[in-house]
């Protein structure tokens, strides 16, 4: 679409909105965008090059340069120290994501179809659970898990992530089911299907995208969580954030190993983001409450 045609008010129906009017404006925009792109990628560059350096090269004077001698030494060190916790984090994030997504789906269905008195108040109370600083619950939570006799570490964390994931998962599904045509549900009810039958035979088969969004969201939150992990687990039984912080947080830091470790800890969530980016954004949007 040439800018001249836009200025002349071209009558051709077009899908795309016109870009900036002049080439100058377009170039300026592009330069700005590329500049920001480089800034955002700067930390990623540092992580990448440092992780392949031998420790002799991680000194300040060669900080920004490419490795002279590429080595996977840092990656091996990081892998040896992080692999047990990496496996544990999968054991935590996968079930936590699946179970809270399912609970959210049932809740969302009930809330979107059944207008009982006080439903709005209840829903708002649920949503507040999404925003609370978890510091306000985590101190007694620690005592409670001891009382119940839950083993510290992954089992406790699974339960915790399921519970505190309920509000956001409920919200995502409620908004999602609001778009399912009422007629479908009514038709099922006319046929004599109860709540459970309707859910299982009509709603569940339509729920794919809702599940993808909630599972990604919950998987990412559980994977990246540090607050619950530091209160309810330790380096021997905790997830990767705890192990990584122990590896990178010492006084005598092995830079290439901690940078490689940071990449190992980020790969699973980044893979999810790259493969299912569209749905990842869906979860972000739900976080802003408005449907």
């Amino acid at each position: 679409m040439s800018s001249a045609a836009v200025a002349a008010g071209s009558a051709r129906p077009r899908k795309k909105k016109p870009g900036p009017r002049s080439t100058t404006a377009r170039t300026a925009r592009f330069v700005l965008l590329v500049l920001f792109l480089l800034l955002v990628l700067l930390p990623a560059y540092v992580l990448f090059v440092t992780s392949f350096k031998p420790s002799a090269e991680t000194s300040a004077d060669r900080a920004w340069l490419l490795p002279q001698n590429w080595t996977t030494e840092g990656w091996r060190t990081a892998w040896d120290s992080l692999s047990p916790s990496l496996w544990r984090t999968f054991q935590l994030a996968v079930p936590a994501a699946l179970i809270s997504a399912f609970i959210g789906s049932v809740n969302g269905f009930v809330l979107s179809r059944w207008r009982f008195p006080g439903a709005d108040v209840l829903f708002t109370l649920f949503l507040f659970g999404m925003f609370i600083p978890y510091q306000a619950v985590v101190i007694p939570l620690r005592q409670l898990t001891v009382w119940i006799g839950l083993p510290n570490g992954i089992p406790t964390l699974i339960l915790v992530h399921i519970i505190y994931g309920i509000p956001i998962c409920t919200l995502i599904f409620r908004n999602y089911y609001a778009s399912v045509p009422h007629e479908l549900v009514e038709a099922a009810q006319v046929d004599g299907a109860g709540m459970i039958r309707t859910y299982a035979s009509i709603i569940l088969p339509l729920s794919g995208p809702g599940f993808v969004v909630t599972i990604i969201w919950q998987f990412t939150s559980a994977w990246n969580d540090y607050l619950f992990a530091i209160f309810l687990s330790n380096t021997r039984n905790g997830p990767i954030t705890i192990a990584l912080n122990a590896l990178a947080g010492g006084q005598l830091t092995n830079y290439s190993a901690s940078m490689a470790g940071a990449m190992i800890a980020s790969i699973p969530t980044l893979v999810v983001y790259v493969v299912l980016g569209r749905y990842f954004v869906g979860g972000l949007m739900a976080g802003s409450v408005k449907s």
């Binding site: 955002v40 992580l47 300040a60 809740n107 306000a136 101190i139 309920i166 954030t241 999810v272 409450v289």
Partner: protein
């Protein structure tokens, strides 16, 4: 649904009640409490210089973090909203830090924000030095007065893309007819944005503000990863952790209650107005 209600009632509201209850007792050691002391833990907290210092730090962090993410996020959305070939690449890269944990990005930011200057400079200071911008070198978060502004940088890096995504959704939700009508009326591009498009974005801006603001109040892992728990960069959430390590339960719970109240003041009006708006629909 009913089990969920019970679980949320117990684990959100029940535990908050428990925290509030403990904050009113004298449980300042690992031993059980002897009795209630009313609001004494709170009055002590607000006379505690270290707590006031942590609130100041939080204030600086929050202001810089909010301004940074809102400005960058809005600017990126504005640059991208028209759509063009390859737009998706920029969008995805601006947003990718969201998928990374603060603990992982903290590893690289700890290195980038190295406070050494001159010959043994590392990280960003070294970069400034090599680019002949040596005057930009600074101690980053090690600065006792404005260090928390530097601590906001990794948070801005991580969340500007999120704010961009919210604004982009806002831009794309504006009906094309509105733009067309304004153009037919002879509005310039600038007037179109200023009087037609930007006013439509205020609900999105408010959502973004609430989300980023409440995240800032809870900020914990970022600081633990970049500087570790230390006085210089202490915010209430970190102070709470340090207090708990010393088994001072009542004080730790009092800090938690203050955090909760601050977040509630920001979030509750927003949630209530949201609920009312839904009712009207």
């Amino acid at each position: 649904m009913t089990p969920s209600i019970v679980v949320i009632a117990v684990f959100v509201y029940g535990l908050i009640g428990w925290t509030v209850n403990t904050s009113l007792t004298d449980r300042t050691t690992a031993l059980p409490a002897d009795g209630y002391v009313g609001l004494e833990n709170f009055t002590k907290l607000f006379q505690d210089d270290r707590f006031i210092h942590s609130l100041k730090n939080l204030g600086v962090l929050t202001v810089v973090f909010i301004v940074g993410t809102m400005v960058l996020g809005f600017l990126w959305a504005l640059l991208l909203e028209r759509g063009f070939k390859g737009e998706g690449v920029f969008r995805s890269i601006y947003l990718f830090p969201m998928a990374v944990s603060f603990i992982a990005s903290g590893v690289v930011w700890r290195w980038l924000l190295n406070s050494a200057e001159g010959d043994d400079a590392g990280g960003l200071n070294k970069l400034f030095d090599s680019l002949h911008l040596g005057f930009l070198q600074n101690p980053w978060w090690n600065d006792p007065d404005w260090g928390m502004a530097a601590m906001a940088l990794p948070a801005i890096w991580q969340l500007s893309g999120y704010v961009m995504a919210l604004f982009l959704a806002g831009f794309r939700g504006i009906p094309a007819e509105l733009r067309e009508a304004a153009r037919v009326d002879g509005a310039s591009e600038f007037q179109l944005y200023r009087h037609v498009i930007f006013p439509q974005l205020s609900p999105v801006a408010l959502s973004a503000l609430i989300i980023v603001g409440h995240m800032s109040m809870k900020m914990f892992d970022l600081i633990m990863a970049v500087s570790g728990a230390q006085y210089l960069t202490e915010v209430p959430a970190v102070y709470l952790w340090t207090t708990l390590l010393g088994s001072n339960y009542a004080k730790a719970c009092a800090i938690a209650v203050v955090l909760l109240l601050v977040v509630a003041v920001v979030v509750v009006p927003y949630l209530v107005s949201n609920a009312r708006a839904e009712k009207r629909r």
